[in-house]
């Protein structure tokens, strides 16, 4: 019978292969004081991998491993792993997942000097996580169809007849949902519900993603859409047009309007980290000027460290009158989802 043979084959394959994920055949031999660094990244490989390469060049004795996934699912995984987690550092797409881990007491306090490099609203009050880059919610509008004077003063004004059937949103998008959560926290449940209902009776058009909204505005299908700011830079780059010629422009709602929410991507160090030193080193690395410039230029996000400029086509971060929201509160998404479903937006 061939079954025992197959079984033996299978077992030997399994035992031989656990390490096959390591690209570097010499990684097992890496020792010394360099050690390793294991990162769980909720951010896309496209943006993280170039930085890992750079970090490894600067620290050739450190072997960096990155697991990519959804921020919330990785946070759930870290929680199940408990103090045995192989991860040293968690790089999250949003503040919510970091806040959830902080509430579990899984994140280690960062040194004051690290925290102080970033304005206090973009880091944890308890000092357990720090923002790396920011992204602002904006109204992307068609500059051929919308005059400067017509731009709304508040996201609540988009329910006016002027905008009937002309605005796009992406109700399934996480950034949009964070914005709705912020609206619930600042304007209250009732007003948020009203806004969601009014937007729909004003024929707001639902799209799957920010980038699709942007293209719909560029194509003249709609006149404006609620998106993240960096999609415009991406649109300019992908269309390879001059920023001046690109029809879609950014409008930041003034006066602390919730429509201008700034959320962050950030990192937290695990209390269980076996390579806390390297994790700390990597955090410093992300906050250093060259990496902040990478995020500003290649991703189009806002650098959070003072002294590094955002893309010249953007207003300075300090000039955005963003609402006063504790970013950790944005972890409370359940109520938002229920509201979106009840009002029929989702």
């Amino acid at each position: 019978m061939r079954v025992p043979l197959l079984l033996a084959l299978f077992l030997s394959a399994c035992l031989a292969l656990p390490a096959c994920g390591d690209d570097d055949p010499g990684s097992a031999a890496t020792g010394g004081d360099g050690g390793s660094l294991t990162i769980y990244s909720g951010r896309d490989e496209e943006y993280v991998a170039p930085l890992i390469k750079r970090f490894e060049q600067q620290n050739p004795d450190v072997d960096v491993k990155v697991r990519y996934g959804d921020s919330a699912e990785l946070a759930a995984t870290i929680r199940e792993e408990g103090d045995r987690s192989p991860a040293d550092l968690f790089f999250s797409q949003d503040a919510g997942a970091l806040g959830a881990l902080q509430n579990e007491g899984i994140l280690a306090a960062l040194p004051r000097s690290t925290l102080d490099r970033v304005a206090s609203r973009y880091r944890s009050d308890a000092g357990d996580w720090v923002g790396i880059t920011g992204r602002a919610r904006v109204l992307g509008y068609d500059s051929r169809a919308v005059a400067q004077a017509d731009l709304p003063g508040s996201v609540f004004d988009l329910t006016a007849p002027r905008w009937k059937g002309k605005v796009g949103w992406a109700p399934t998008n996480a950034s949009f949902q964070s914005f709705v959560t912020a609206m619930r926290k600042t304007a209250g449940e009732a007003r948020t519900r009203q806004w969601l209902e009014d937007m729909q009776s004003n024929d707001v058009r639902a799209y799957e993603k920010n980038s699709i909204i942007r293209d719909a505005v560029a194509d003249g299908e709609i006149e404006a859409g609620l998106i993240n700011h960096y999609y415009i830079l991406e649109g300019i780059r992908e269309g390879e047009v001059d920023g001046k010629d690109y029809p879609v422009k950014l409008h930041f709602f003034p006066g602390g309007d919730v429509g201008s929410l700034v959320n962050v991507a950030g990192v937290g160090l695990l209390t269980s980290a076996k390579q806390g030193g390297n994790a700390q080193k990597f955090t410093e690395f992300l906050l250093a000027a060259p990496q902040q410039e990478f995020f500003a230029q290649d991703v189009g996000e806002y650098p959070l460290v003072q002294g590094v400029a955002a893309d010249p086509s953007l207003p300075a971060l300090a000039d955005i009158q963003s609402p006063d929201v504790d970013l950790a509160d944005l972890a409370d998404l359940q109520g938002t989802l229920e509201l979106l479903q009840e009002t029929g937006a989702l």
Binding site: P18, A72, A76, T77, E80, G96
Partner: protein, 533 residues
């Protein structure tokens, strides 16, 4: 009728009911392993019983329960309604090109539900491609396909092969002597189908429909894209939106109850019937039914199903692939991921088939309380959302076998837990058609039980066992959530690449790896369908 479903003689039944001690031991170990997700749910729930209770004790829970159960039953029924005629047409009639149709109608199995759902929305959505075509006729928007209808349609279209394959295999294995006898008694084709064929197909139909229904319970991709609030979608939201592991676990525990209900219903249908050949004769040529004037409607039916479930999705993928700039495609990355996917799927198919065989044997030869418990335990992983199974293995894996944590071996174990019923159901249906009297005869002639299995049972049931292996292979190669969390770091698979491509920009940019996924799934599918006549 008495021909096929007579009760087996009492002495065989009585003896068959008690599984041997080694079989008990092996199936107990497999069942315990597969029940790890349930153990995990209990750990999490007992951790904070109050908030688990709060998560369940809400007015929405009942409607959620009914909605999910309705979707599961509707998908099982829909898949059966499509699959049984297709199986019969491609196995037993003179349908023109039936071998080609046999392969083509099985192809939707290679399309992951998340891709299928997205493609259908793009094609048939309110403002999809079809609307674009119809726009000159003044149609500004098509009716919404979001919600129950869309989820049902997509899940039915991409799960019906789970019914088609076992039913077709069963039709090909049937003993034509029974049909001949019935015809000799002057019964019409239709009467023969109803009284002879259908009863014998019940185990295959039941097993397949159960798998389709349970898949509908556990699926996240299609229900999230089609915005249908099933259990799985709400469970994912609990993790993603509120980081609420206790609430998610409580809901998942309820989902296990729904699964048990479906399982019991299926077992009830199957109970107390025998399906093996009436005589130990050798396989004979199967009679071919002439379709006559039903030929064209039959062809149209096959074509319509193939068009919706395979040709349309494939055309969309090809169209998008052509659009994505050739220079943007990272062929080296895709090739590496394809290699990893094939390795994982091959190992998972092998391991799952081996471990599923004793479970199938138990269910076929010693049905009873013990086999019911084993069946239920080994089915939980398949009915639960991938993320729950993955987190359960994270929880136990890192504590019990830290050396193997996030290794390929553990990933393979995860696939066994997720997909064992696919292999067990297929093998059991095949075993049920092997007469225990042949085994008895071999025993009487002095062979050991293992030798009997090797020389009699396995050769006769081989087709069904291989079909199960291929099903596991195809399911593994599409699997995403467990791979994200449990794979060795850097072990990218094709679904991971598709997922990364689609999150970073357009879904369209995932079209090339998706086509590669379809291409590498084709050979095992060919083995599955092309081998049989």
């Amino acid at each position: 009728m008495a021909l096929a479903v007579e009760s087996p003689p009492q002495q065989i039944r009585g003896r068959a009911r008690t599984p041997s001690a080694p079989l008990r031991l092996v199936t107990a170990i497999v069942a315990l392993g597969c029940a790890l997700p349930v153990a995990y749910l209990l750990v999490v729930i007992t951790d904070e019983p109050a908030s688990a209770w709060n998560a369940i004790w809400r007015p929405q829970t009942l409607s959620l329960l009914l909605r999910s159960a309705a979707l599961a039953v509707a998908v099982g029924a829909g898949a059966t309604a499509i699959a049984v005629p297709l199986a019969w047409l491609t196995a037993r009639t003179d349908l023109p090109g039936r071998r080609v149709w046999a392969v083509v109608t099985a192809l939707p199995l290679v399309i992951p539900s998340y891709i299928g759902a997205y493609l259908l929305v793009s094609a048939l959505g309110p403002r999809g491609e079809l609307q674009g075509v119809l726009a000159p006729l003044g149609i500004a928007e098509l009716p919404s396909i979001y919600g129950f209808r869309g989820a049902w349609l997509v899940l039915t279209l991409f799960t019906y092969p789970l019914v088609l394959l076992p039913v077709r295999a069963a039709l090909l294995r049937l003993d034509p002597a029974l049909e001949d006898a019935a015809r000799g008694m002057g019964r019409s084709n239709w009467a023969v189908a109803r009284t002879v064929l259908m009863p014998q197909l019940i185990p295959a139909v039941g097993a397949g429909a159960l798998l389709a229904a349970l898949y509908a319970l556990s699926d996240f991709g299609a229900v999230s894209i089609l915005r249908f609030d099933s259990f799985t979608r709400v469970i994912y939201q609990s993790y993603r939106a509120s980081f609420d592991r206790t609430g998610a676990a409580a809901l998942a525990a309820l989902l296990v109850l729904v699964m048990l209900g479906l399982l019991l219903a299926e077992a009830r249908v199957r109970r107390g019937r025998t399906y093996h050949r009436s005589t130990p004769g050798s396989a004979r040529r199967l009679p071919v039914v002439r379709l006559g004037r039903w030929r064209w409607p039959s062809l149209a039916f096959c074509a319509a199903v193939a068009l919706l479930a395979f040709v349309l999705p494939l055309a969309m993928l090809l169209y998008w692939s052509a659009q994505s700039v050739a220079g943007d495609v990272e062929w080296a990355e895709i090739a590496r991921a394809a290699g990893n996917s094939l390795l994982l799927a091959g190992l998972a198919a092998l391991a799952t088939t081996l471990l599923a065989f004793p479970v199938a044997w138990l269910g076929a030869r010693s049905p009873g309380r013990w086999s019911t418990v084993v069946d239920a335990a080994t089915t939980t992983g398949y009915a639960l959302p991938g993320i729950v199974v993955a987190l359960a293995l994270v929880f136990f894996g890192i504590r019990a076998v830290p050396v193997l944590y996030q290794s390929l071996a553990m990933l393979v174990v995860a696939m066994v837990v997720l997909f064992l019923p696919l292999a067990a159901g297929s093998a059991r249906a095949a075993l049920l058609q092997v007469s225990p009297r042949l085994e008895e005869a071999a025993r009487v002639s002095g062979r050991s039980p293992l030798a009997v299995a090797r020389t009699v049972t396995i050769p006769l049931a081989r087709g069904g066992v291989l079909a199960g292996a291929a099903l596991v292979f195809l399911a593994t190669i599409k699997e995403l959530p467990a791979v994200v969390l449990l794979s060795p770091i850097g072990f990218d698979t094709l679904p991971l690449v598709i997922w990364q491509e689609t999150t970073r920009s357009f879904f369209e940019s995932g079209a090339v790896p998706a086509l590669v996924l379809l291409a590498v799934s084709a050979p095992p599918l060919w083995l599955l369908v092309g081998r049989t006549r």
